[in-house]
């Protein structure tokens, strides 16, 4: 690429030196190459997204246009249609994700703050490693751990919640006023999901907190802020949009997590807020994984239709996250 340009240079001009000229031409070439690469990757991402969306729609079409699915698919109730199942599935998926987010975010933010602003440096990096290691555990292992280790331990806790806080609909017991045993319930599932999404939320939050401008931390300290007040005044406001993004990343993972839910949750297809009773809810991803192998063509199409719903939810979550981040842009410190 450099040689034609060099050849065009009149040989008599002594300055600028030819070497300089050649490197500038190469720079321009690199610049162009990089632009193509960037535009190309962007298009590739869009094309992938579009092809996934088209695939989902095409494959779901037979089920979406079928007028009597109930007679063909065992898991659709007599006289019902796809919506009677997709509705509760969407509900269950979102409920599980939100509860796990509710459990994970406070802990993750706490750990991230501890690492960024309280712990001595050596301890902070050790703790950071441990949290990152959590992210390396495969979800099937988390599922096993949830069923075999966690479930027996938390059952008494769930029972306690039912006994003392059963008046809160979320903690209502079954018809005998008990938490299910074994606790293959949404709360146990959400707890395991929370552990799974903890690393990503912690890691992103920690990075954001560490980037709090020294300028603003010192402004707070100079006003006589204690460590906690410094965090309230400078660190948390600065990190808010970052934590929101981190939470949305976690939410995305929780929405799509399959294996752990499949192994822990006893499925049900109700619009039920009971977190401590089995066979109430199911998530879309786990439902697809549970039924896909045994499904015939129309059954698969129906399952893919539920997958389409999951795709849309995830898309909306991401749009929502952007809206939240953009809403207080004026106050974000980005300017």
């Amino acid at each position: 690429m450099a040689s034609p340009a060099t050849a065009m240079t009149p040989p008599v001009t002594p300055d600028p030196p030819p070497r300089r000229r050649r490197s500038r031409t190469t720079d321009r070439g690199l610049d162009r190459a990089f632009r193509y690469l960037a535009v190309g990757s962007g298009m590739l991402i869009l094309a992938t997204l579009a092809s996934v969306a088209i695939f989902l729609v095409l494959e779901a079409l037979p089920a979406l246009t079928h007028d009597d699915l109930a007679s063909e698919i065992a898991w659709i109730p007599e006289g019902g249609n796809l919506g009677d199942v997709v509705g509760p599935l969407i509900f269950g998926t979102i409920l599980a994700a939100i509860v796990s987010l509710g459990l994970a975010v406070p802990v993750a933010v706490g750990i991230a703050l501890f690492i960024s602003h309280y712990a001595p440096r050596r301890m902070a990096s050790a703790l950071g490693y441990v949290v990152d290691l959590l992210a390396a555990i495969p979800s099937v292992v988390f599922g096993l751990w949830g069923v075999l280790v966690l479930a027996p331990k938390v059952q008494p806790v769930w029972q306690f919640l039912v006994d003392y806080f059963g008046w809160i609909p979320l903690f209502a017991g079954d018809e005998h006023g008990n938490a299910s045993n074994p606790p293959r319930v949404l709360m146990t599932t959400a707890l395991v999901l929370a552990v799974m999404i903890l690393p990503i939320i912690t890691a992103v939050s920690r990075e954001v907190f560490l980037q709090t401008p020294r300028l603003h931390e010192e402004a707070a300290l100079a006003l006589g802020a204690t460590r906690w007040e410094l965090i309230r005044m400078a660190v948390l406001p600065f990190g808010r949009s970052g934590v929101t993004s981190a939470a949305m990343l976690g939410l995305g993972r929780a929405l799509g997590e399959t294996m752990a839910v499949l192994m822990i949750l006893s499925p049900g297809f109700l619009y039920s807020f009971k977190l401590l009773v089995a066979s109430q809810q199911q998530t879309i991803a786990a439902n697809i994984a549970a039924k896909f192998n045994d499904a015939d063509d129309i059954g698969r199409s129906a399952l893919i239709a539920t997958g389409l719903a999951l795709f849309v939810i995830t898309l909306l979550v991401n749009l929502g996250a952007r809206a939240i981040v953009a809403r207080r842009k004026d106050f974000s410190g980005a300017n």
């Binding site: 401008p213 300028l215 603003h216 010192e218 402004a219 707070a220 300290l221 100079a222 006003l223 006589g224 802020a225 204690t226 007040e229 005044m233 400078a234 406001p237 600065f238 808010r240 207080r328 004026d330 106050f331 974000s332 410190g333 300017n335």
Partner: protein, 259 residues
């Protein structure tokens, strides 16, 4: 509400590095004291020991005493947080909290000192502090807009308003005009002259005309070579420093004959 400061035998360290050595000086209440000297001689470092901000840097510590109306700020049982509530600070770069509105910025320190404050007290404080900082007329219609939307000079005056809203004993300013244009610089200088009626002010400046314009007393800091600790060369009334300093080094620096 203004107090005198007596510094004795102060050595200031970053870890093992002695950055400033053997400072002895007194700062009179209701006066402006300017610190001048070549960059790296420890003006900021010394200034930050006066409100115990120095020690927020890991490994940073001091030896010696800084007494405010006779009480050693570094004495046992003195809480640095309490010291900083008495001694306000304005930084080189304006640093209003970007997530807070103009009014919230002014009230930030008050919210720390006593959590609850009535709406009318808050409004009154905001107006008083912004008026003292000569900013009220420019921002009174947009108190709920973010402080980061102001110009650099306005932001710096907002930071001054934030610092004086808590009625500190002493106000420290570290090159408050170095990031500002000449008009904003004049506005801040006028403000310093007004504020001296109520506060003890210590201002670091690299601008000797500024020191000559605003200060009553001037302290000249110098260092022999990089890696050597900075020292206080002399402190005297500002006219004396600029007309007939005792030390040759001061004379050289002021007349621009400095290396």
């Amino acid at each position: 509400m203004a107090q005198r400061i007596d510094v004795k035998d102060l050595n200031i360290y970053y870890g093992d590095f002695l950055a400033v050595a053997g400072v002895e000086m007194s700062v009179e209440p209701r006066s402006v004291t300017a610190f001048i000297g070549p960059s790296g001689c420890g003006k900021s470092t010394f200034l930050r020991t006066l409100n115990r901000m120095h020690e927020v840097i890991p490994g940073a510590h001091v030896e010696g005493t800084v007494a405010m109306d006779g009480v050693d700020l570094y004495g046992a049982g003195i809480d640095p947080v309490a010291v900083r509530r008495q001694v306000g600070m304005v930084f080189q770069r304006p640093n209003p909290f970007p997530t807070m509105s103009i009014a919230e910025n002014v009230l930030a320190g008050i919210k720390l000192n006593n959590k609850r404050i009535s709406k009318s007290d808050a409004d009154e404080t905001v107006e008083r502090a912004l008026t003292s900082a000569n900013l009220w007329n420019e921002v009174k219609d947009r108190l709920n807009r973010p402080g980061s939307g102001l110009s650099g000079g306005q932001q710096q005056r907002l930071c001054i308003a934030r610092a004086i809203a808590v009625k500190p004993q002493v106000l420290l300013m570290d090159e408050p005009c170095s990031a500002l244009d000449p008009i904003s610089t004049l506005a801040i200088e006028d403000l310093v002259s007004e504020l001296k009626a109520d506060y003890t002010i210590v201002i670091v400046t690299h601008n000797m005309q500024q020191a000559a314009r605003v200060s009553d007393r001037t302290a000249f800091f110098n260092l022999k070579a990089t890696g050597q600790p900075g020292r206080l060369v002399e402190i005297d009334d500002t006219p004396t420093i600029f007309s007939s300093p005792r030390e040759q080094a001061t004379e050289d620096y002021i007349s621009g004959r400095f290396g």
